[in-house]
């Protein structure tokens, strides 16, 4: 499913986080939003998820205008930077949450939910952890649970906010590879936010470079490296 953002602006008090941003994400694409902290990339991700209301502009999912729709109607899987796992729920309950809150007519029965959660646990290689609480997991395990929880609702688009930010280098590399493989298998339209250019270039099909609330350049990793269109992109990629 494709996602488009038309002329979105967003201010926080006096601080302009997004200034007239437009972007098109193609179906099945894995796109990285790269930029220094405070550049607006996370805000854009939250606008797409419906977690921020833009002051102006429009967001569409597969051509349908979802700007007015609440986050819970959009079916966008969101993986939070700090995971935001439900601390009082077990791993199983966390992953099953999105299924259990479905309206009665659409809600699968308990056996179907257990089966689906089991599959997801297999996918994230955490079989046998269903009874643990988030506090009893390592950072990398929490990250994968957050991912499985977002995937359980069969999202139309997957949005990841600094997905590997809080992990140590080795776990980071493993998870990066795992995410790439997962994407190659499912071709789920995905956006992730990062400030790490290696991560962006290694993982993404296309990279969007952000600074001060504006998109500086969009392109394939090679294009950006060899043909930066402005000084900021050049300086940012050289550092």
């Amino acid at each position: 499913m494709s996602v488009t953002v038309h002329n979105v602006s967003k201010r926080f008090e006096a601080f302009p986080a997004l200034k007239d941003v437009s972007l098109e994400v193609q179906t099945g694409e894995l796109l990285a939003l790269l930029g220094p902290s405070g550049s607006g990339k996370t805000t854009l991700l939250r606008v797409i998820a419906g977690l921020e209301i833009p002051d102006a502009g429009q967001v569409t999912f597969a051509g349908e205008d979802v700007t007015e729709k609440s986050a819970y109607e959009r079916r966008a899987g969101f993986v939070f930077q700090s995971y935001a796992l439900f601390q009082h729920m077990t791993v199983f309950e966390n992953i099953a949450f999105g299924l259990r809150v479905l309206p009665k007519k659409k809600r699968p029965d308990a056996a179907a939910i257990a089966k689906r959660v089991g599959e997801l646990l297999g996918l994230i290689q955490l079989e046998g952890y269903e009874k643990r609480l988030p506090a009893q997991l390592s950072g990398g395990q929490r990250q994968r649970v957050a991912l499985a929880r977002a995937l359980a609702i069969e999202p139309r688009v997957l949005l990841l906010d600094e997905p590997f930010g809080a992990l140590d280098a080795r776990v980071r590399k493993d998870l990066r590879r795992w995410l790439r493989e997962f994407h190659d298998r499912t071709h789920l339209t995905s956006l992730f936010v990062t400030h790490d250019q290696d991560e962006a270039f290694e993982l993404a099909d296309r990279v969007v470079i952000f600074n001060e609330g504006r998109i500086q350049q969009i392109g394939l990793p090679a294009e950006l490296r060899h043909h930066p269109t402005n000084d900021f992109v050049r300086a940012f990629l050289e550092v």
Binding site: I53, T67, E68
Partner: protein, 311 residues
């Protein structure tokens, strides 16, 4: 909404104009992400108004609204002024405020000692003592009043009897009794506001002072006291504020003799019983104003101490 991007594509709407267009469209847009904003804020404001704001407004309105007994505006105001400046009322202010202030100062000293001992020293029974400090918060004022009367009463009180026989001190039914009740109910305020500050007070600051050759006493006056002063003042003011409004525990231990041991809240109740609603409202407004003065002082102290720390 769909027309807008196409207008942009055709090139006759600039990007800024389009933003303006969108802003117009957005006026009807929901403004909050999480659900329940209108429901919860609505109930909050409704309940706040019903229980607190409208009743308080009714109190203030009473002192300026003509009634059957005082048909003109000037008559109402005149009566209110007469009641609130009456010697009996003024004496009760002095009593309520004076004794509350003295009690708050006593609590400042003992509260500081208590907080210091509870934070800095280890001794058996410390946790129980710490828990007991909250007792005056949890204990109904009437129980406290009854108990204190039984302890400090001159005839048959467990302590008061001996104080009277040995030293001739009369406590119950005098100002001393009121003072004791006020110290009791105000005690936790100073301890509880000081404890976190004393915990945070870095002992390296003290060590540095000690290294610079100041003795313990100088360290206390020059280093420790200035850094806990805002919390100490806040605690004392909180105890003061609580004492000014106190009624329950004092009823038991004081005889409420006009011009001598009659506190302002008691005078309000007497005015109500005499059906002088306007006069009662006048005294209520005086107490409200004084409470707000105390709140304002606390906020000022906190404001200045925070700006000084940050600069």
């Amino acid at each position: 909404m769909n027309a807008v991007p196409s207008a942009l594509e055709k090139g006759y709407v600039t990007s800024t104009e389009e933003t303006a267009l969108n802003n117009q469209n957005n006026r009807s847009r929901r403004r909050h992400i999480l659900p329940g904003f209108h429901l919860t804020l609505g109930f909050t404001i409704f309940y706040l108004s019903a229980i607190v704001l409208i009743p308080l407004a009714a109190l203030v309105a009473k002192v300026v609204t003509p009634t059957f007994d005082y048909p003109g505006f000037s008559q109402v105001i005149g009566h209110v002024l007469k009641v609130v400046t009456d010697t009996r009322a003024v004496d009760s202010y002095w009593l309520s405020f004076g004794l509350s202030f003295v009690a708050a100062l006593i609590n400042g000293v003992f509260g500081f000692i208590a907080a210091w001992a509870l934070i800095r020293y280890e001794f058996p029974g410390k946790k129980i003592l710490d828990a007991l400090v909250d007792l005056p918060f949890a204990m109904p004022t009437s129980v406290a009043g009854l108990a204190l009367t039984q302890v400090f009463s001159n005839n048959g009180g467990y302590i008061g009897q001996w104080l009277y026989e040995w030293f001739g001190w009369q406590i119950s039914y005098t100002r001393w009794g009121i003072l004791i009740a006020l110290v009791f109910i105000g005690f936790p305020f100073v301890v509880r506001t000081l404890q976190p500050v004393l915990t945070d007070l870095a002992s390296d600051v003290e060590e540095a002072a000690a290294c610079l050759g100041s003795n313990r006493w100088q360290t206390f006056w020059r280093v420790i006291l200035p850094s806990v002063r805002p919390a100490l003042i806040t605690g004392v003011m909180l105890a003061f504020g609580r004492g000014v409004g106190e009624y329950g525990s004092i009823v038991f231990i004081s005889s409420m003799i006009p011009y001598s041991t009659e506190i302002t809240p008691q005078l309000i109740i007497i005015k109500l019983e005499e059906f002088d609603y306007v006069g009662a409202a006048g005294l209520g407004v005086v107490m409200l104003l004084m409470s707000f003065a105390i709140v304002a002082t606390v906020n000022l102290v906190q404001y200045f101490s925070s700006t000084r720390r940050s600069s």
